[in-house]
């Protein structure tokens, strides 16, 4: 939901792998854990963090829970990025000029 949650969620390597996997295609928890070096409960916890951050959504299919990436989540990240990217460009250009003076 917040930038805080999103960035810190994607800041963990294992958790980013989980996200990238479900972004590739929706998967169940057990399937995700099978392709990762951590236990299934660990994957569950990572998915909860990603879900709280608004980066994934969940759908029940029998006893299985199918997780999928949530595009709106990345869209929010993109909003932040676009803003500070233009800021960074301007301030960096000014910095280069300052450097020329000195």
């Amino acid at each position: 939901m917040t930038y805080e949650n999103m960035f810190s969620a994607l800041g963990d390597s294992t958790r980013r792998q989980v996200f990238e996997a479900v972004a590739d295609r929706p998967r169940a928890v057990g399937d995700l854990a099978a392709d990762l070096p951590v236990s299934r409960p660990a994957v569950s916890q990572h998915l909860k963090v990603l879900s709280d951050a608004g980066l994934v959504v969940c759908r029940a299919e029998g006893t299985r829970r199918i997780y999928a990436a949530r595009p709106e989540g990345l869209a929010e990240l993109r909003t932040w990025l676009e803003r500070y990217w233009s800021d960074a460009l301007e301030s960096f250009a000014a910095e280069v000029n300052k450097g020329r003076d000195a």
Copy 2:
């Protein structure tokens, strides 16, 4: 440098404030600390993390160190974002169709 470093760097609230401040305009360490609720050494440590992540650069001006945002850093983040955003769009569309079947 790596996505790992970038996301985890921006995942901390205080550190993201530091980055946003220098993105607005280049600043010295003491000036940054004056506007933040943490000590100056803490700001120094955050700047080191941001620097290792390739998100900021530094320039000496007398005893002062002027830090500025590094646009190429955000550009890398954008590359990641664009890729997984399109992935997420496709997988999410497929997910919606699956949901319709069930």
